[in-house]
């Protein structure tokens, strides 16, 4: 038997690594991938809680998160391609038009 809190701790570790990668990475594609990692970590905690309280709705949430993540990945990668076309760089430090 594995305590549910182990799964939650694993999801916390994955989420934190995702946050750290989001802040540290300079390549826009890797930054985007760390967002996917954070989404996955939250999905794991949803499934763990769904198992804990025997609720199907937790898994339904994960399903919808997957749908939104797929849509988000398609649009986000299209935006990245458009950025690369106009600026010829993937470094987030050089894409600072909206920065104060």
């Amino acid at each position: 038997m594995v305590p549910t809190s182990y799964y939650l701790v694993l999801s916390a570790i994955l989420f934190t690594i995702g946050v750290a990668a989001f802040l540290i990475k300079r390549n826009i594609i890797t930054v985007f991938m760390s967002i996917e990692l954070m989404l996955n970590a939250v999905n794991l905690s949803f499934v763990a809680f769904a198992h804990q309280w025997h609720q199907v709705s937790g898994q339904i949430f994960v399903f919808f998160v997957m749908v939104v993540a797929a849509a988000e990945a398609a649009v986000g990668l299209a935006i990245i391609i458009a950025i690369f076309r106009t600026r010829n760089t993937l470094n987030v430090d050089e894409i600072d038009l909206m920065k104060l």
Binding site: L23, R26, F63, A70, A74, D93
Partner: protein, 164 residues
Amino acid sequence: MHLVLFFIFGGLCVAGALNLLLQRHPINSALSLIVVMSSLAVLYLLLGAEFLAAAQVIVYSGAIMVLFTFVIMLLNAGREERTHGSKAAYLVGFPGAAALLALLVYVFLSYRRQLGGVSLGEYLVTTSDLSRVLFHELLLPFEVTSILILVAILGAVALARKEQ
């Protein structure tokens, strides 16, 4: 048995995520993210979510990550270079992330007694259970997601198209 499987695949998850953080080349990060997502599918199976395990493999490590690797190869993304901004990110990022991790782990471990445990095969949500809820009570949100996907496809095509 369950604990061993949990530690093997949980360890693979953490190792893959750390590799994503440490690698400088985006293609290596993408491949390690595929490892993370595939081992998460095994963890979903351990938690009795069979449909989500299949969907995780098909949607995440299949579709989304193929899209990522495809874009990385299309844009010919090279190693990322260190810039001035990354120093500030190191200074703020690591302590902030460590504080977040400490807080979350403290909260989860302090509720360890109330939460109970997971046994293999004790609770299984089959695909028919899931679809019964999805197609009876949540039919409208399910249909709305199809419109969302359609809009996302159109948006992706419109954004990625070469401007005349």
